[in-house]
């Protein structure tokens, strides 16, 4: 086993452990922090396969942005000390059987699939190529999804305003 394999399995173990902790922890702030480590692990995998841009985005957007956002919203809306209710034991058993069954099925199918090896295109994922792809409008260009996402964000902002907006006191029937 080479060094990279050892590093990969270490990262993978960290990711799996922290993902499990994130969904089983009964304190919500802890769950958010565990999630941070799981996301960091993903970034590490990207670094391993030389996707530096993706790794940086993963770190900045997910670890830096989204987890901080989650923690902020937890601090603003709920009590940190509050513990989540413990689910019934039959629920735990049933969901773990289902989860394990699903995981086994997926792993079985994926590991038994013969993936056709794609010839390397020889294109380096430099910032220039990424930028050209992102704003390209020919085949392989992503400008349309890029713009649709901006509409999605506008809609999400309007939605957030609607949810948060209060009526003025006199209209508060």
């Amino acid at each position: 086993m080479g060094t990279s394999a050892i590093i990969f399995y270490t990262i993978a173990t960290i990711m799996i452990v922290f993902s499990l902790l994130a969904v089983t922890s009964r304190k919500i702030l802890r769950a958010a922090v565990y999630l941070l480590f799981a996301l960091g692990g993903t970034a590490a995998v990207y670094f391993m396969v030389n996707y530096f841009f993706l790794a940086a985005v993963q770190l900045i957007v997910y670890a830096g942005g989204i987890v901080v956002l989650i923690i902020f919203s937890i601090l603003l809306t709920s009590h940190i000390e509050e513990k989540m209710q413990k689910p019934d034991s039959w629920k735990i058993i049933l969901t773990s059987i289902l989860g394990l069954g699903g995981t086994t099925l997926c792993l079985y199918v994926i590991t038994n699939h013969l993936f056709a090896s794609q010839p390397s295109t020889g294109v380096e994922a430099t910032m220039t190529t990424i930028g050209e792809k992102l704003l390209g409008y020919r085949e392989g260009g992503y400008v349309l999804p890029f713009e649709v996402i901006s509409i999605l964000l506008l809609a999400a902002m309007i939605g957030a305003i609607v949810v948060a907006k209060r009526n003025k006191p006199e209209g508060n029937g």
């Binding site: 099925l105 997926c106 199918v109 994926i110 038994n112 699939h113 993936f115 056709a116 794609q118 390209g136 409008y137 020919r138 085949e139 392989g140 260009g141 992503y142 400008v143 349309l144 999804p145 649709v148 996402i149 509409i151 999605l152 506008l154 809609a155 999400a156 309007i158 939605g159 957030a160 305003i161 609607v162 949810v163 907006k165 209060r166 009526n167 003025k168 209209g171 029937g173």
Partner: protein, 472 residues
């Protein structure tokens, strides 16, 4: 990139422009006149709908990410009309006191969602499909929690956003498996052979879309969200959101997933039976009309799946025709529920007792809508079901056909329950006589005319069938 290529996206441009115009218009309305945006939004959307009917170029652009053809344009037009009806029915509700400072936002959210619908239908790449799906759902989750002072509305919003996040995750996992096995996300480049990885990916994809169409076993959110949301949002969810997902399902199954036909026919065979039966059985027990229509719409989704199973042009055409009829029938039913809720604040079945004595025209509209949903001749719903059953018989699924016919009979029973309440049951305190506002009346009469006309005017079905044949 030429202007001509950009004009292929006409539906989307028109919708985006109307969002921007509304945003700017809203700024210019004074505080007391915010309700002006009700009429301006309706007029704007009517223009957008009309624009959609102008003859259009077809083709694909953005390197194949965006595809448009006459069939897709027809789908968009059907959905645009139904959104227009929803808008016309929403005026009275938006004018109520609790909504006075968020009238325009309702339209902005709805139109954004329609933009998502359009991009999803025209997708030529799974990324566009996924973005369209998200853009369709996220604004609606905000709209579902519009009634700020009702905890049920907040519950509906949170349930919708959580289930849609969950279903998106499943769908994305399926898509990543499909990408892993085909090496592309462009529909035109994906090649399917029935290996187990692709089957697994397809099943995940189908489950994700199944949440949107509320196919059993992915229907658990439906009744709660439909009940809690404002009724206008419910009618949008049950008609536009569901209709769009059905359209996309048909398009993708018949064109893209054709090599996996053996697989999806089995999947649909099972889910169709469960969806029809469970939807019907639960609908019988409902007293709240919104929950009742929720389960009725689940059962209707089961019937829709019947048409998909053949995967032929006839099946496709019968699905699109059925959705067209379903749009008018369901919107008419919801229109009556909305009108009565706004004037009397009642949504239970027993409140409808003796409605015919006080509001004969509304009762007639409701009766026609329910008869059409049940599939009683000579209304359009009958022809919708007839074509669906023909498509099933043509593909040779006779057991499925038998179950479907039995289910149609069961559904007749619970649709008649409401009719009985309105026309036969007596009540000491029926809903008093009232007149709804003009737009609601226009929308309701439009729906009733649709229910009556579409069935008899045979060129409609012929036209749809022709488009389907051309698209295969």
């Amino acid at each position: 990139m030429s202007l001509q290529e950009l004009l292929l996206l006409r539906h989307e441009w028109a919708l985006i422009a109307s969002v921007l115009i509304l945003l700017v218009l809203e700024l210019n309305f004074s505080e007391e006149k915010k309700s002006n945006s009700i009429s301006s939004a309706s007029i704007l959307f009517a223009i957008v709908t009309l624009l959609g009917f102008l003859p259009a170029e077809t083709g694909s652009t953005f390197g194949g990410m965006y595809v448009t053809d006459p069939l897709r344009i027809l789908m968009k037009n059907i959905l645009n009309i139904s959104v227009l009806v929803v808008f016309l029915q929403s005026g009275a509700w938006l004018r109520t006191k609790n909504n006075y400072n968020r009238i325009t936002e309702f339209y902005l959210l709805m139109i954004s969602s329609v933009i998502g619908v359009n991009f999803m239908i025209s997708a030529g790449h799974f990324l566009m499909f996924y973005l369209g799906l998200e853009l369709l759902t996220i604004p609606i989750a905000a709209a579902a929690s519009y009634d700020q002072y009702k905890s049920k509305s907040a519950e509906a919003g949170i349930k919708l956003i959580l289930t849609s996040a969950f279903s998106s995750a499943i769908l994305l996992f399926g898509l990543s498996l499909l990408y892993g096995s085909t090496g592309s996300m462009y529909f035109s480049e994906m090649e399917f052979s029935t290996n187990s990885l692709q089957i697994l990916g397809f099943v995940f994809f189908f489950s994700g879309l199944g949440f949107k169409i509320s196919i059993v076993p992915f229907h658990l959110w439906t009744a709660d969200v439909y009940e809690g949301s404002p009724t206008n949002v419910t009618s949008y969810l049950s008609v536009v959101s569901k209709g769009a997902a059905v359209f996309v399902l048909v398009l993708l199954l018949v064109n893209l997933f054709d090599p996996l036909r053996q697989v999806w026919q089995q999947v649909i065979y099972g889910t169709a039976i469960f969806t029809m039966t469970i939807g019907n059985l639960f609908a019988i027990r409902q007293q709240n009309l919104k929950r009742y229509l929720a389960f009725s719409s689940i059962a209707q989704a089961g019937f829709i799946l019947l048409g998909v199973i053949g995967g032929s042009a006839l099946g496709m055409a019968s699905v699109i025709y059925f959705v067209l009829v379903y749009v008018f029938s369901n919107l008419a039913a919801f229109g009556v529920v909305i009108a009565i809720e706004q004037s009397a604040g009642k949504i239970n079945m027993k409140d409808y007792n003796g409605l015919y004595k006080t509001n004969p025209r509304l009762s007639l509209a409701m009766m026609l809508a329910l008869f059409s949903l049940a599939g009683i001749p000579p209304l359009a719903g009958f022809f919708g079901k007839f074509f669906l059953f023909t498509a099933v018989a043509e593909s040779g699924y006779f057991v499925l056909l038998l179950i479907a016919v039995l289910n149609a009979v069961i559904s007749l029973y619970y649709y008649l329950l409401v009719v009985k309440a309105m026309f036969i049951n007596k009540s000491e305190f029926p809903v008093p006589y009232f007149q709804s506002d003009y737009p609601t009346r226009i929308a309701l009469s439009g729906c009733v005319i649709g229910i009556l006309i579409i069935g008899f005017y045979s060129p409609v079905f012929e036209y749809i069938k022709q488009l389907c044949l051309a698209s295969l």
